[in-house]
Amino acid sequence: MTKILNVAPQDTALPKVRVDMVPLLLVPVLALLMLPLVGSFPTWVTLTVAGLAMGMMVFMMASGLTLIFGLMDVLNFGHGAFVSVGAFTATMVLLPMRSWVEADSVWMNLSVVGMAILLAMVVTGLLGWAFERIIIRPVYGLHLKQILITMGGMIVAEQLIHVIWGAEQIPLPLPTTFRGAFIIGDAALEKYRLIAVVVGLIVFVSMFLVLNRTKVGLLIRAGVENGEMVEALGYRIRTLFVGVFMAGSALAGLGGVMWGLYKETLTATIGAEITVLVFIVIIIGGLGSVGGCFIGAMLVALAANYAGFLAPKVALVSDILLMVTVLLWRPQGLYPVAKR
């Protein structure tokens, strides 16, 4: 067969793959800059780990939201409801199985928390499916109504939590072996924070692998950029979207369990309270970008922790300041997502 068309002469270099490195560097740079300001190395280690742990938990909650937005241009203002429901669902395992939680055995603790997480993710995933069908499907493409209706959904969900689990705060004690800290040198590393970091990394790596190595993942990424073309290639983007919505909701549920255990008490507004932070994170990351969301989560959480130590008053508004700074630099967020 003849080579009919060969535009590029053989000796031209491959086009440079422009990997945008700068945002990747922000997290280590921020951490290193803060080291001299914090002064003491052990304190810095503790703060950094605390920041990373919080960042990981926020990432779990935010990643689904940003993906849902990227794929279908739907912003779920009620995403926080899934966080709350996830946390409350976990109590249905953790409270009856109190003996496993209180047992001084890593395996019993891990398995009971694992079961709680599993149940929470299944429940929030199914709830996500229902939410998509009932609340969101009728308002595709209508941003104003989307915002209103998902807000309404959140109000109703919060109230239903009161109805089902009662209006009082529920204490959610950490399992015995998750308490306390490892002391390395002079730095104290709380065990639960390390667990949160590990879980967060697992989530991030699996998302990364799914999005880069599987057909479904590639379709999701393709759909974020051009959903119409994905349909023209013969795939039902609606099915894809329902799947992503369920997965995103389940991740919010996972984040809710982790966050609830971190705070050790549950209120129905636990999700609504974190929603603002989640929004800031996905704005910083660039709406629709999972990688940007990860970096954004780390930045926001680290900044909050350092500021909390260095200048507690500034910590109150550190997220906003960070967001404004990033948006002045890149108005579309760290990783703007190419759109149609």
Partner: protein, 244 residues
Amino acid sequence: MSEPLLKLKGVHTHIGQYHILQGVDLDVPRTGITVLLGRNGAGKTTTLRTILGLWHASKGIVRYDGKDITQSPTPDIASAGIAYVPESMGIFSDLTVRENLFLAARSVKSVGEMDEKRLEWIFGFFGALKKFWNQPAGTLSGGQKQMVAIARAIVEPRKLLLIDEPTKGLAPAIIQGMIAAFSELKETQPILLVEQNFSFVSALGDTVAVMDGGRIVHSGSMAELAEDTDLQHQLLGLSLDAHQ
């Protein structure tokens, strides 16, 4: 002659408040290249999009391979064997060339399982793709992106290709190459090609239809039209005037 592969009968399409297609009758035979000519805004792209169900006809019938697909959803129409190369090319710029083709290969489950022989056949037309195989498609030049878009449409055998203005904005050298590619392609599958560039399609087309104002105003064989300069002038010269 057997029943045409694709038949549009009295198709009307509205986009919002605009009435774009106003009764299109179009036959696409089972072999060769059918060219859809016409000035900007004549409704060529809308015709392609209506066939594919990206916009649905408000009136009339689209029959494909004996079935009524007028109101079918796009994925079903695509799965029935119609491939589409949009004017914007619809490249997934974040994904590599290889991943772009992989997604177009519906029956393949993983990147490694793509039909090597078929790929080599495609590289025969578009050598550059082999070279940029693992590059993000967004980093390619316009002409190379067009190659990705066409390669995507033929990565698996399909029954019909819809191609929207493939020469738009491309250098003449690339267009020459594309003519060669299409003349080989049309031996294996029918193509419905939308164009404004008459010199490009006059050498390539077998049948031709000319659109104006949302209707087909002329249809016949390309050879006839290519010879009849008066008719050309009447159909296309007129549209040139309107274009200015």
